[in-house]
């Protein structure tokens, strides 16, 4: 399954990873090779076989909705690349010219 440069760029955007033209070429060939390999699953007949997301029968583990201690604001902000009081500072999200 060969991935075109266009598809690699699209996947890069979906993955939120900026790719240089060299990387697009390199990853395009490497990812195509890996996809060729995983295509061998087509050889198997999985008609009527239920997908298995979790090999153990664990379902909807819940606890009572009671508040429990979590991180303090100081702890939560301790690793912030940019903090502003009790907030994480980030580039503006809402802007007329912002990309989707």
């Amino acid at each position: 399954m060969a991935l075109s440069s266009k598809e690699v760029l699209k996947v890069g955007t979906l993955s939120r990873i900026r790719l240089t033209p060299e990387e697009v070429e390199k990853f395009s060939s490497q990812l195509s090779g890996i996809l060729d390999y995983v295509d061998k699953l087509r050889e198997l007949d999985t008609q009527g076989v239920e997908p298995l997301a979790h090999a153990l029968p664990i379902h909807n583990v819940l606890r009572p909705d009671e508040p429990r201690p979590g991180l303090t604001p100081e702890q939560a902000l301790a690793g912030a690349p940019q903090a502003d009081g009790d907030f994480f500072r980030v580039p503006r999200v809402l802007d007329e010219g912002a990309s989707a």
Binding site: L41, L44, V61
Partner: protein, 493 residues
Amino acid sequence: MAVTDLTACEIRNAIQERRLSAAEAAEGCLAAMARLDPKIKAFLSTDPDGARRHAAAIDRRLAAGENVGLLAGVPVAVKDNMCTADGQPTTCASRILGGWRAPYDAHVVERLTAEGAVIVGKTNLDEFAMGSSTENSAYGATRNPWDLQRVPGGSSGGSAAAVAARMVPIAVGSDTGGSIRQPAALCGVVGMKPTYGRVSRYGLVAFASSLDQIGPFGRTVADAALVLQATAGHDGRDSTSVDEPVPDYLAGLEEPVRPLRIGMPREFFGTGLDAEVEKVVREALAVYERLGATLIPIELPHSTDYAIATYYIVATSEASSNLARYDGVHYGYRSADHADMIDMYMRSRAQGFGDEVKRRIMLGTYALSSGYYDAYYKKALAVRRLIRRDFEQAFRKVDCIMGPTSPTPAFRLGERTADPLAMYLSDVYTVSCNLAAIAGISVPCGFTAAGLPVGLQIITDVFTEDRLLRIARMYERETDWARRAPRIAEEPA
């Protein structure tokens, strides 16, 4: 005898009986680390002051007659994808978490400390646990103590090498597709992946949430059992942690499993298996036969090539979701220049992640994307059920399954870095266990002519770690591979 030649059980007993102090045990390991790690590079960070403080506290409590726990004073190394709030960074061997300080301890770290273990450092790994050689670390590769030009395996290569080189008696790692068992085999130590859900993943930085498991490294089966004892059990903070009682793994360890039916999958002895590895593994199986076990040929039709294909869809899909959190917003690396929010994500991740991580995120994103989800992700999950069924059918006929852990001994640094797929095939015998959630252990079973370790993999069904350890111990009792140390560990300061 140097402290570093003692096993964890021996150190623990000596400390509890006051023949050895926790301070002496810590100093012995710290000295070995100072002497050997510049050559092996197993550690990303060390905490000598913290280790000394903890060891001194344990000695004080012992003097006061207190019970300090199962791992009283035993030095331990922790893979750097497990959160430690003690001041050491938790980097996952990535630039995107360079210098990051976790605000809480992983469950396993809490348990080890509560049982008296002394954490001496954080070990190197393939970035975000993605790899089979530790060469994908953003901070440099770890060397195999048996041959410094070769890889220790991965992704828990640092933990495996630290134990093999006798810098620490025990370590913990994580295994998503073989990342404990394969480096254990390549480094000639014991490494075990428990059943999924046996050990809490709270505080383990997630790679693939339905596959990741934490497990022990040790030079002996008893040491692996000791670490498992300290860390296994239900934890409400991990919703995939199973509330299954924890047996006493050490109590019955010396009792052989009889009768013992060993399944030998045709697929684990096929093409791609190195001839020397096969020979050494078959000799190990012959030891089991002499002990009265029966070798039964079985088939696991979906366990090798199909399992690798399934794994590289399932694990990468889960990773693409788990690693979405690294966006430069709340913690970790943020790019210096960016036009807007999306650009900040794209540049932070481009600059912070290494190539293998990018490849896997993109693969997973592609497999989950609209138009491809059914053909890749859903298909892979259906094959995962076939893999699980293969094991269910096998375990009706046999008590355990055995074969080589790794198709080859340790390969050279740089040998497989140009071809991702060649690297992926290192895990051909290990990935099926993670997909099926079952337990597996690698025990040293000999060496190649060039002196490289070979590992025997033993697999049992879910929540049978006590039997798995006893089966492994049956072989270990008849052999003395654990006594052999790499030459580097024996060199004087």
